[in-house]
């Protein structure tokens, strides 16, 4: 809201003389004192701005001087009065024709409302200022190895420390690591998201705590266990207790003292993280030896020095990385190059293509609405030629008449914007249902003051654009012609016909582009939904379990617990199979490990990375992943037996073409230069990262040899997955009463959720295409109906002279369909030109898919014929006697 006040104040500086200081500012302060809500304040502030301009203009026209004191007359005089008069007249004209006004307002409201919805999303994702100090100087530091297809790789502890101590381009260099903790002491034990951060993390991003302090350097590695709590934790769990600092909370069974409360942080950056701890390199399951070897697990955020560009920083970092490579040639991550990504791009960059598509779509919808209303206005203004001529005869200039009509169109679009905002509010309320948790918007999707400002600007521009041509046309000085009764004087000139047809063709072309786009997306989406994921998601319950390190300190303890759960549940009632895995498919939890064939080893830091999952025995049967060859893991595969693995069919094809992979060995992981692991089985391919993507290499390792850190549980049941939840919960409670079962859901729901962003894009684009086609249909109908209305007399004469009804029908339909045909042609050309904008969002279908193009073109053509036929049929029913007498 502050920014709106700032914006209004900036405009107020244009007020003449000292009106801003003495009139506008006290008025705005009066308004502030009334403590209105956001929306009401925004509307009232704009009203005060307009009123200030009005009184200032009134004073100037009256030549108010101290020696000519007059009382303020709120009715004013001069230009402002004329303007007010025009505005009143425009209002009267619009209320006189409620049918026309309703259609025009509805068309504009749909166009403007769609724009408001998309601008709300774009503002929330890309434009809203981040609550960090100088956020444009913040970058994410990743590693990349393009030759191996690797990008956005995290950092290892040695690399982080080396870069932190040897770089000269950043003011601050910090890292974070997301984790899950069991929180006790607040009712039932629950699991919450947390992060371990370096002590300087909040100084680097420029966030000050609301209460208390942040971490000190001496607390980073040693000293008492301290925690910073996030804003939602403070509000929801500590009930905004201002004495929260100093309280103790229990995480994973260990006490932590709260030293500070943080303000709300962007969802896109921190998700649902509730607590922040230090000891930034403490990842459960990661031994000091592994850490030292260069295993990457840190997310690095840095602040560029003032005046340093991202290119300079990249060059500077490359020098520091060279030194790292020379000093530690054996580290797993020493060959990776640096990759710097501005923080904002890192957080929401993946939404950019979808949002650009949607922005283009709503711009098209608005253009269609605009040309629709422009057509209606042309007809209407030209129909008022007699009034215009009379005004001209009485001395009105052309400019005054144009202004009068522009007032009408701007007023229309402003009313349209008002209704559009209401539509947008409704639309935004339904968005979360479509988007699930796929939109990281901080305060949900609501119409903000900025969106309101944008909408008003759009409305003004729309009003002007669609009104200017009809107004100028209508105001052409030809009073003599216009005052004549009847004849062709009121049917509009040939030029206006051409423009009307051009606008109609434009509407059809734009609608076709949108329709094809939506059809392609719907088709991609259904293909993706039908895409076999490689596992059977039906009847599978899933949940997350995090075993606290204090209670389950070693991998053996954890393994034993998982086995106990499996033994307790398997065969219990409707439960058939149970297993655990580190990262279920399509949940975004994917870890990767370096690999190499044993007979052709390459240095560790040059090995490619493949997806790696630790699983409990029975995982493949539980998920319905077919076995192709070999065996499953079993109790024989222990920590001390030969390391074994199961690979996917694609892995077998990639690594062992034309060979039997069973019994062959691979180096996997980075421990000791990679562990020699024997392949004991081959299973079907699983689309584990995304339904749209096949994986080249995917390896499964037994949990007994490669511990699971964050376990996801899969339970296959006979019936509905969630029906078994209580049984599962009871079994786990009986084994460990303090262990919560998190995020219980079904595998089907997880699979669906992985398509969330595509679903959102598809649903929105389909809605906009539907709007576009409806608007174009109304446009075609209204133009043809108008033509029929204007040519009633002519049609009457034709019928009187012997034309039969079929001739009339053909005449009118042909005239109506000509621009439609041109529009369809232009639309196809537009699709060919804009196709590549969509190409990245499509799956399994080309942007120029002939079947889709044909279907959309024929579909729109049929709708156009239907819209033309209704008025054309009316034309055939013209009674020649009545038609001739009426004129």
């Amino acid at each position: 809201m502050r920014s709106l006040a700032g914006w209004v104040q900036r405009v107020a500086r244009w007020l003449p003389g000292d009106t801003c200081a003495r009139v506008f500012e006290p008025s705005l302060e009066d308004l502030r004192a009334r403590r209105l809500g956001r929306i009401r304040f925004a509307v009232a502030a704009i009203a005060i701005l307009a009123e200030s301009f009005r009184v200032a203009a009134g004073a100037r026209l009256r030549g108010d001087q101290p020696h000519r004191q007059r009382e303020i007359d709120s009715r004013g005089a001069g230009a402002m009065d004329t303007v007010a008069q025009d505005a009143r007249y425009a209002t009267r004209m619009l209320t006189k024709n409620p049918g026309f006004t309703a259609v025009a307002v509805l068309a504009l409201a749909l166009g403007i409302g769609a724009n408001a919805v998309i601008f709300t999303l774009i503002y929330g994702l890309f434009l809203r200022p981040m609550p960090y100090a100088d956020p444009e100087r913040l970058v994410r530091v990743y590693g990349e190895a393009p030759e191996r297809g690797l990008s956005r790789l995290g950092s290892s502890q040695p690399k982080f420390e080396h870069l932190r101590d040897n770089q000269q381009v950043f003011d601050g260099f910090a890292s974070s690591l997301g984790l899950v903790f069991s929180l006790s002491g607040f009712g039932d034990v629950t699991q919450i998201f947390g992060a371990r951060v370096t002590c300087n993390y909040f100084d680097v991003i420029g966030v000050r705590p609301l209460l208390g302090r942040t971490f000190r350097p001496e607390e980073e590695q040693h000293g008492p266990s301290l925690a910073l709590v996030g804003y939602s934790f403070w509000v929801n769990r500590l009930h905004s207790d201002r004495a929260a600092v100093g309280r103790t909370i229990s995480l994973d069974g260990a006490p932590y003292e709260i030293i500070g409360v943080l303000p709300p942080l962007p969802v896109a950056d921190f998700g649902r993280t509730e607590v922040f701890l230090t000891r930034p390199f403490d990842l459960p399951g990661l031994t000091p030896e592994n850490r030292a070897r260069g295993v990457t697990f840190l997310r690095v955020t840095a602040r560029l020095k003032a005046g340093v560009t991202i290119e300079q920083a990249r060059a500077g970092l490359a020098v520091a990385l060279d030194a790292y490579r020379r000093a530690y040639p054996d580290k797993a991550d020493s060959t990776w190059g640096p990759s710097l990504v501005p923080l904002r791009e890192d957080l929401t960059g993946n939404f950019r293509p979808a949002m650009l598509t949607l922005l283009a779509a709503v711009a098209l919808v608005l253009l269609i609405a605009c040309s629709n209303v422009a057509n209606l206005l042309t007809a209407r203004f030209v129909g008022r030629r007699r009034e215009i001529a009379l005004r001209g005869a009485l001395g009105a200039g052309r400019a005054q008449i144009v202004r009068l009509f522009l007032f009408e169109s701007v007023l229309l679009s402003l009313v349209g914007a008002g209704v559009g905002i209401a539509f947008a509010q409704v639309g935004l309320r339904t968005l979360p249902f479509i988007a699930d948790a796929n939109l990281p918007l901080d305060d949900g999707a609501t119409v903000s003051a900025q969106v309101l400002g944008f909408t008003v600007l759009i409305a003004l521009a729309t009003g002007f654009l669609m009104g200017v041509y009809p107004a100028v046309q209508a105001a052409r000085p030809s009073p003599g012609d216009a005052l004549k009764d009847g004849g062709r004087a009121s049917t509009g000139a040939r030029g206006q016909h051409r423009v009307r047809n051009l606008l109609l063709a434009g509407q059809v072309a734009l609608s076709l582009v949108l329709l094809v786009g939506a059809a392609l997306l719907v088709s991609s989406f259904t293909r993706l939904q039908r895409q076999e994921p490689g596992f059977d998601p039906r009847h599978v319950l899933s949940a997350t379990l995090v075993l606290p390190a204090a209670k389950y300190p070693t991998p053996d303890h954890q393994y034993r617990f998982y086995q106990q759960v499996i033994d307790a549940l398997q065969g219990n009632g409707p439960i058939r199979l149970v297993s655990f895995v580190q990262g279920l498919p399509l949940t975004g939890a994917n870890s990767r490990a370096p690999y190499a064939r044993a007979d052709a080893p390459v240095p560790l830091n040059e090995r490619p990375l493949g997806l790696a999952r630790s699983v409990m025995p029975g995982y493949f049967a539980t998920l319905g992943i077919p076995f192709i060859a070999g065996r499953d893991f079993s109790a024989r595969d222990t920590r001390d037996s030969t390391p074994v693995m199961i690979i996917s069919r694609n892995t077998a094809r990639t690594l062992f073409p034309n060979e039997d992979p069973l019994g062959r060995r691979l180096f996997t992981g980075s421990q000791g230069g990679g562990i020699l692991t024997e392949i004991v089985g081959v299973v079907g391919d699983v689309r584990s990262v995304s339904l749209a993507q096949d994986n080249d290499v995917e390896m499964y390792r037994p949990a007994s040899q490669r511990p699971i850190n964050l376990a996801q549980m899969a339970v296959r049941t006979d019936g509905e997955g969630l029906a078994a939840l209580n049984t599962v919960r009871a079994a786990i409670h009986s084994l460990d009463p303090e262990l919560p079962l998190n995020q219980p859901t079904t595998l089907e729901a997880l699979t669906d959720a992985s398509l969330g962003q595509r679903k959102l894009l598809m649903a929105l684009l389909a809605t906009f295409a539907l709007l576009a086609v409806s608007l174009a249909t109304v446009g075609i109908y209204s133009v043809v109906a108008y033509l029929v209305g204007q040519r009633t007399a002519e049609i009457g004469i034709r019928i009187a002279l012997g034309a039969n009804r079929r001739d009339v029908l053909r005449l009118v339909t042909w005239q109506g369909l000509q621009p439609v045909a041109v529009g369809l042609g232009a639309g196809l050309a537009g699709v060919a030109a804009l196709g590549r904008l969509l190409a990245s969002q499509l799956y399994g279908i080309s942007a120029l898919d002939p079947a889709t193009l044909a279907m959309a073109t024929v579909g729109l053509g049929v709708v156009a014929i239907a819209a033309t036929l209704a008025p054309a049929r009316r034309a055939t029913k013209v009674d020649p006697i009545i038609a001739l007498r009426a004129d």
Binding site: E25, E29, I48, I72
Partner: protein, 115 residues
């Protein structure tokens, strides 16, 4: 014709200005906030938008009848920059002159009526 019978000069204040200056005089010369003055006017069923009201006050300032200044007020735990006004000596003279005009004129016509 005697000098005492000469009618007074027309007043330089309008009704609304007379009302506003009167409201400022009513506090014994103490300054009042613009918001309070607006509230006072509404008691006389005079409703002006905030910009129209402050424009009128700006004119009174230009004429040298009132003096405007800014103060900081805390309203509902929010700091508000409020415009305050106090009447000047010239303002007081103008108000007195207007009041005398009406009193004398009324007096004079009352006498004529009863003569």
């Amino acid at each position: 014709m005697s000098a005492a019978a000469r009618p007074p000069r027309l007043p330089s204040l309008t009704h609304l200005q007379f009302l506003v200056l009167g409201a400022l005089l009513g506090t014994g010369g103490e300054p009042r906030a613009g918001r309070e003055l607006r509230a006072e006017l509404t008691r006389y069923r005079v409703r002006r938008s905030a910009p129209a009201f402050y424009q009128m006050m700006a004119r009174l300032e230009d004429a040298g009848w009132v003096e405007g200044f800014y103060t900081q007020q805390v309203v509902d735990s929010q700091i508000i920059k409020e415009r305050g006004y106090r009447i000047t000596a010239a303002g007081q003279r103008a108000w007195d002159g207007t009041r005398d005009f009406y009193v004398q004129t009324a007096d004079r016509f009352a006498k004529v009526q009863h003569a």
